[in-house]
Point group: C2
Chain length 311, copies 2
């Protein structure tokens, strides 16, 4: 463990110093969107590239790539060295959405206000588009990352791969499928699901940005805790929004959890207590970053945004 | 391009010198089997790890990992440095089989004489087991490869990822799905399918073994041609065996291609001409390796084995 005392001595001034998160997110989202658009060209066989692009470029908040870029910058790197990994993380996130939406899984017809991948391209192509995005994510990191020591790129690949696999996202999804419709799902099991389905990939985003910048182990540990906490908070808020928001706000079918008799945080805690727990997690996440001062403003503001968003 | 003249000067003695391929394959298969068995431990959530292991350890010839190990040794590396990549390639091959067998794809109930993954674990878990194996393959390469320069490991990851994605296996599969049932499939299209569905991954096996050993570009090029040729030959023979072999020999449903009205090499050329074309490709593959002399015996014998195998 390397000390991060050089960063700890940077005292934060006013944590409420003006930081325009909407402008920051808009700016970053545009950068990410452009990079994603460039990341996959359509060539023969067109159908698979089109299917991959259809879901990859279907909008969304691009929170995962933005977290990766912000973390890299906080640790002293420039965002350019993290952009290929940021795009790869969005490819992986997209893969998980395409596969989750399949009839054999959540059987969803809409995602981000558009028809799901298999509704447009068929189940077979949707499965392959997911596989293609997952494989391409790793190729893209290797092919496009510049000015980073190869050891660091390998570290990123291992961490990202672990976050997607059975020890992360895939494992969370399996437990989620098993839990569906069961009356005896505990809050611990629910938290396992979300720590793996959601928080693991957010963790990979923030950690890989830091690794690319050459962050010390202690800083990586701190950022990892931040990501875990906002990841869980994100999911609690998602559960709440499934109840309180409309389909138009969500861009996907609302009320699906209740309909599917899914265990959710509001089903344990009610809506108000769920919101309080989410806020507590966000506060804990922000506390991890307190020592970085103003440099942490983007990550601080993103944490706040998670509990205040309406979609 | 670096010269490979040091290897070219090693004149081959008698190319028919006794080489016991069955013993070699048996030995290597046992090594690979043991390494695969160690590669994935069952932990919570057990179901996903069991599903991954079910298909990964369902037998098979293990030709892909064996090619990777043999190529590494031919280029002067020891097989230990290539074993993690060899296992990863088998994980990826297994992923492609699990997803190909799904109802939305080839809808196959049997594979290697056992029920397919989704028949045992359900479609949802089968999709996730494939995703888990694909992600884990990359984690495994990074985590387990020892005594290899990180640049080489990155090169391997990029090459392997490319072979799986839309530029390789996934792209071939999409074209295959589109071609199914169509009366106007050309021989060029059929060859595109197999160069991508089969040859691309074999190419990644042979090339990554060579890269790990630090092979020169000219040697990699030669080995790549060898792999492309045996890959296509392998598929031609597969098409022939689908007609001539029994289900017991194949360990999967026989006669499926004819039943599905799939374009196959025998449907263009007949069985005899298909066999002749496969033999010609094998001869071309072996010619690429002629300059390596006795050291190339394993790869030479594997090339021969492809046209003489009965399952």
């Amino acid at each position: 463990m390397t000390s991060s005392s050089n960063l700890e001595t940077v005292a934060t001034g006013n944590p409420l110093a003006p930081f325009d998160l909407s402008a920051y997110l808009r700016d970053r989202q545009a950068q990410v969107e452009a990079a994603l658009d460039r990341s996959i060209a359509v060539t023969y066989p067109e159908k698979i590239y089109e299917a991959m692009r259809y879901s990859l470029l279907a909008g969304g908040k691009r929170l995962r790539p933005i977290l990766c870029l912000a973390s890299c910058e906080l640790m002293g790197g420039n965002s350019e060295i993290a952009m290929p990994t940021a795009c790869a993380l969005e490819m992986i996130h997209t893969m998980s959405l395409i596969h989750d939406d399949l009839p054999a899984m959540d059987n969803d017809d809409y995602r981000r206000g558009k028809l799901t991948n298999h509704k447009v391209y068929g189940e077979d192509v949707a499965i392959l588009a997911g596989d293609g995005l997952l494989a391409y994510a790793f190729e893209f990191i290797v092919a496009e990352t510049r000015h980073v020591a190869p050891e660091r790129v390998l570290h990123v690949i291992a961490r990202v791969a672990r976050a997607v696999g059975a020890a992360g996202l895939v494992g969370g999804q399996v437990v989620d499928l098993e839990a569906e419709g069961k009356p005896d799902v505990s809050i611990d099991l629910l938290t396992f699901i979300h720590r793996h389905k959601t928080a693991a990939l957010l963790d990979a985003c923030v950690v890989s940005g830091a690794v690319l910048a050459g962050a010390a182990a202690a800083d990586i540990e701190r950022l990892s805790k931040y990501a875990q906490d906002i990841g869980l908070a994100f999911q609690i808020v998602d559960d709440v929004l499934d109840i309180t928001a409309t389909q138009a706000e969500l861009g996907k079918t609302a009320g699906k959890d209740v309909q599917a008799q899914k265990a959710t945080y509001p089903s344990f805690w009610g809506i108000e207590e769920s919101q309080r727990q989410a806020q507590q997690l966000v506060a804990a996440a922000k506390a991890e970053l307190a020592s970085y001062g103003d440099a942490a403003q983007p990550l601080m503001a993103i944490a706040d945004y998670i509990t205040t968003r309406t979609h």
